[in-house]
Symmetry: D5
């Protein structure tokens, strides 16, 4: 099942630079791993913002929550989750 | 280039039923044609709302505007367009 | 899986009284049937508003959308859907 | 009587880690105790957010306020309280 | 128990004048009756708006909902209900 | 003349505990004194929030401003002032 | 005492042209009369909008409400009233 | 002097088609005339919306208001006016 | 030409007391000087808020920007500027 | 292709003065360079705010994102990007 997720990132400017770099790097690794696993099916940057629009293909809302909650940058994110359904005019179902 | 588009549809309840049916049918035809053309690359229904989230792959903002402006249901839509860029953690570029 | 749904109803004041009564009655029948089926697990009235807060237990977002889209009063509703997950401090899981 | 309560938690990132852990742990104990007492009747996590949606069954608004005000994480919460009434289409009354 | 209630009234300008006058008159009668009964304890006009701020003293949220739902102007109102508790610095409890 | 005032308090979590206690205590003394003087005529706690809804009976807007501006917690408050008038359906005038 | 008032006018496009002209004309007469009386002390047009920003000098909030409520265009206005006080850096008090 | 103006157009769907066409045509003539006069210096369509972003070069706010107020579609527009100044990093001043 | 300006001031509570006093004092001097010069024509305090509503009479938007940008408290202000025009029902033009 | 960009700058008041000066200076250099390159085609200051309204002429959304993301003040900006299209009433196309 598909969920549309918008993540707005706001890392405090006074966070230790090393800690910031570590977070950003581990976030990227997690994102790549989840994409390889076919869970994080779309990941786009919103032009001009430290934000992304993503689509996740998961087995349940609980699974999605665990994924988002465990993202390294989660503490510095504002997240909006929108459940998706098949559109009657969609040529193909799915992500 | 990719644009994220949200469309919220609000057809007046006192619109002629035939006119409504005609609009909805021609809207579906247009959507299917644009998907076959590879322009309307994603089309999902937002659960619980007469709304969709779409992604368009077009040559320019002007082209996107012409498409949206020409949709049969456009007069009854609230549309939000968000330009997308490649995300540095995206496994693959594109739609 | 659980979804929190808020429905705000706004029936135009100039809708035919008979049509209004028919819609309200069939809405109630649908609500009762879905509750008996164990799908619509909670249904509360928001004090002072023609609105409800509900919790649905469904198999997928698509199933939830079909239910909401088919409600007789859907055309006159503003609907907000919030996916729920198990809370780490919840004594028991589920609705 | 029932109250729908949404709690959005925002713990400052520079709070002492020990203090943070203490707060989170005592919050969980309080939540479990209130659930055992039949006061905190529903507690769900909002997917993707450090937030919950709860339903409380209390004897009065004052009682609810005392409970919320005394939660260890209260100073870091944004709380919205919505009084609930029995819905005319509800199969059963109550939580 | 006390509830703070704001009511914003918006009567369609094309409502039959007689119907409008009837609604306004019966609304006034209901308001006076509820005040005499000690239920509607405060009723003030917001300067410059067809709105009021009220305080109700009722036995339960359900009772408040029945009162508001039954007001003749309810169909043309936007209502916000805020539950009140005793303030620790209040010289006296109550309305 | 009557003014409806909502005060939302947000004391920074890193304020010196002694300073915080001093502010809260002197705020309470001021509130009690103003109530005894018949100026602060209603003071209720909003359930679940560090906020109050009050009604002031003052001689002029300037007088109200001086009172609010001089409250010890004023620097940490968001204040909304709404002027009130007599409601045509009010059984009695006044606070 | 001074009140800042913003009035946004939205006359339905299907209102009878004669009725519209009558309302606008009587509104102007009332405005001019109130200005001559020294009550409506400032009246400016907001550039690009059918709105004005005004300042009223009245004896009480009740008096202001009667004035606004009796304006011919009141039924088609959204009104925001902000009570003003003397500013500590104001060279002169008053309007 | 420069003013940034956003215009959102919402023509009622039940407006007479001839009247609509007349309005749209005369609006275009006015826009072209004002552009030739060097007053309306920029006019862009917002992608996906019946809205434009414009920049006007006028002699005073009053002049701008007269222009906007006299546009044929003004009654069906929501207009936001933002005064502009020279930016310290602007290579050249002006429109 | 006239501009309506709202200034909401929010000085961080942890700003050095001496610096705060210096800023507030120099702000007052500037305000008095601009009022004497006939530029800052109206300055009122919004009741209950560290905010003012002002009207400026300036030669251009650029001049207004320079004035506002140079106010000592500017870095701690949220400023909204609304250009004003003569109202057709205004008895007299001007501030 | 054209994009309308609004940038609201909020530099923390406790940022090192030297660091602040460096950022502002390098930001200006970047802005001037991009204007010379014909990419940053319009740059205006919003009166009364540390904000600008700009128009960029770029080859793609990705190019725009790289530009904005690389601005020295980007970490302290809120950015809104609005894609523009040719307006049917525009005398000339382009910036």
């Amino acid at each position: 099942m598909l969920f549309h997720v918008r993540m707005d990132v706001a890392i405090p400017h006074d966070l230790e630079p090393d800690e910031r770099a570590r977070l950003v790097a581990t976030e990227k690794e997690r994102a790549l791993a989840l994409q390889r696993a076919g869970t994080w099916v779309h990941l786009w940057r919103i032009v001009g913002q430290y934000s992304n629009i993503s689509v996740f293909d998961v087995g349940s809302p609980d699974e999605l929550h665990e994924i988002l909650w465990s993202l390294p940058l989660f503490p510095f994110m504002t997240v909006q989750v929108t459940p998706l359904a098949r559109h009657p005019s969609a040529l193909v179902a799915g992500p």
